[in-house]
């Protein structure tokens, strides 16, 4: 059976579980032929899914719920990532110590293309406008790298615990010179890297059966990756076509990722879901979603996949 998975970003240890499952033959054991499509900076997985270019996508829940409200009926079928890896990383010299008081008037780097929702929700809870000015923050569409921080074009930039943060460190800035604010710690963490399909897919029994096998094999891959970060990193490296990744960086990323996947067996935790929804709904005048979504997740797949 053929199945296509669209990733959210370029080939890296963030998606280690899937690459391990493919490389170790876990998918094959289930009788699946899985194609993994790498993503990229301006590729919206939701659009790929809607267009029929993939059967399953890896997406962050805010983007998925926003798309759902736009009329694209996405359903979360599994949630391998338990916690969020998002944070804002600031230069100590910018003088920021407390988000509640110090962000005003500062320039912050943010990822867009569907990744801006958690940030916007956070700023809303802080009561900060994102339109600039002295009592708001100036937002930069952050490009592909951490240069804005290094060039001091922004006081803080978005980073992931497992990736960009380490690039800042690698660039020669000592951890002591940095201040970080994890979304988890700020109480604005939203679910990342879940598996989503279209509602219609779940009505097709054959597809559902395939998805069960897929989720089962993927989780096996994730757990294997958690335990063998070095091997997983090597597998990722082999699958990277650009040849730009380094084993050190990927191994470290795998180790960090393992911390985020640790608490999940693959099934979506309803409480996490509700927390994400609440944060997103709290958006005030321009909320990410305007009403409580319905049917945005299903345990149908994980219940069967993780049964034994």
């Amino acid at each position: 059976q053929e199945l296509t998975l669209q990733l959210k970003w370029v080939t890296q240890a963030q998606f280690g579980g899937y690459y391990v499952a493919k490389d170790k033959g876990f998918y094959e054991e289930e009788g699946l032929d899985v194609t993994i499509k790498a993503g990229g900076p301006d590729i919206a997985p939701t659009q790929v899914l809607a267009g029929g270019g993939a059967d399953v996508i890896v997406e962050w829940m805010p983007a998925a719920l926003a798309a759902r409200e736009k009329g694209l009926p996405l359903v979360n079928i599994a949630q391998p990532f338990k916690s969020s890896g998002m944070m804002l990383t600031c230069l100590k010299e910018s003088g920021i110590t407390d988000p509640k008081t110090d962000f005003a008037g500062k320039t912050l780097g943010v990822w867009f293309a569907g990744n801006e929702y958690p940030f916007l929700s956070w700023m809303h809870t802080l009561g900060l406008s994102t339109e600039g000015g002295t009592d708001g923050v100036t937002v930069l569409k952050q490009g592909f790298n951490v240069d804005p921080l290094l060039q001091k074009q922004a006081a803080c930039i978005s980073t992931m615990t497992y990736n960009e943060y380490w690039q800042v460190i690698d660039a020669g800035i000592a951890p002591e010179d940095l201040v970080t604010f994890k979304y988890e710690d700020q109480g604005v963490a939203t679910l990342e890297d879940g598996l989503y399909v279209l509602e219609s897919t779940l009505e097709d029994e054959a597809k559902v059966a395939d998805l069960e096998k897929f989720v089962r094999a993927s989780m096996k891959g994730w757990k294997y990756a958690e335990e063998n970060p070095e091997e997983a990193a090597e597998i990722v490296l082999e699958n990277d076509e650009t040849g730009a990744q380094t084993i050190e960086h990927q191994t470290r990323m795998m180790t960090e990722i393992a911390k985020l996947t640790a608490g999940s067996n693959g099934a979506l935790d309803e409480a996490d879901y509700q927390r994400t929804v609440d944060i997103l709904l709290a958006g005030g005048s321009d909320p990410v979603i305007s009403k409580e979504p319905e049917g945005a997740w299903s345990h149908a797949i994980t219940d069967k996949a993780l049964a034994e």
Partner: protein, 287 residues
């Protein structure tokens, strides 16, 4: 040959300016690092540091040269770290796109010079078509193709084709219209048919124009391919190389990919030039 000395002089000047700029642009970073480490830098140390940074704002020429050498000769050409391999991926998409684009341009041009309705309808919109920021919607093009199950080379090639068809169209229309009234009248006085006029007069007279625009078109196709490779960050090709270099802050890698792309562009233009020279000489058009 007599251009060699001036070119070398200018190149030398550029390299010199480049070194000075590299020192200037990288010095802030070097000083900051020193300040963080609470050391002071002597002028000599500063120069050495600025020219050997891991992540320079502007890499020094020798760093780029080393990066290029490493990418070209330091790897097996089948390696994913080899610029030759990435260059090949880009080249194949460029050539495919160029073939599609120039064919489309030529066919449209033929239609336009032979059919008035087509001339009046298509030409104004052909100009407008080039103002569509295809480069900004390249990601969507990739996605739309993916939704039709087409991935890999073709979507990039389509973007390349979009950019290269226009110069070819314009050049070819101009070329097919170069025969002057006298030449057309001669044909008419022999009661030549339309196809005869096309094959024996319009087509041969258009060739010099065609080649001139093919040179522009192939450079445009390369730009299109590279841009098509940017959003699909994980795929291969020089554009992906540029992007991943940017993503990981590896300026040397960006510059190496850029120079590889430049060399590719020059190579392609020169190749078209060679074909032009041979063809025109065969036809007796080159003197």
């Amino acid at each position: 040959m007599r251009n060699l000395l001036p070119i070398l002089t200018v190149l030398l000047a550029i390299v010199a300016i480049w070194y000075v700029a590299a020192i200037g642009m990288n010095s802030t970073w070097a000083r900051d690092q020193a300040a963080r480490a609470e050391t002071r830098l002597s002028a000599g140390d500063l120069v050495i540091q600025t020219l050997t940074l891991e992540r320079p704002v502007l890499p020094a020429p020798h760093q780029v040269a080393a990066g290029l050498w490493e990418g070209i000769a330091g790897q097996k050409i089948t390696s994913k770290r080899s610029l030759v391999w990435h260059g090949w991926i880009t080249l194949s998409a460029t050539l495919t796109g160029f073939a599609i684009g120039s064919l489309a341009g030529i066919l449209l041009a033929v239609g336009i010079v032979h059919d008035r309705a087509m001339d009046q309808s298509v030409m104004p919109w052909a100009v407008a078509s080039q103002t569509v920021p295809i480069l900004a919607i390249a990601p969507m093009v990739i996605v739309v193709f993916a939704s039709a199950g087409i991935t890999g080379l073709l979507p990039k090639a389509v973007i390349a084709a979009w950019l290269s068809f226009f110069p070819v169209l314009v050049g070819m229309v101009k070329g097919l219209r170069t025969p002057d009234r006298m030449q057309l009248d001669l044909m008419r006085s022999w009661s030549a048919s339309r196809p005869q006029m096309f094959w024996r007069l319009r087509l041969p007279s258009s060739l010099p124009y065609l080649f001139a625009s093919l040179k522009v078109g192939i450079a445009a196709a390369l730009v299109g391919t590279i841009v098509g490779e940017l959003p699909a960050g994980a795929s291969a090709g020089l554009g992906a190389r540029l992007l991943s270099g940017s993503y990981y802050g590896q300026t040397v890698q960006i510059w190496a990919a850029l120079f590889a792309a430049a060399a590719l562009a020059a190579g392609l233009v020169i190749a078209v030039g060679r074909i032009e020279a041979v063809t025109l000489r065969r036809m007796g058009l080159a003197r």
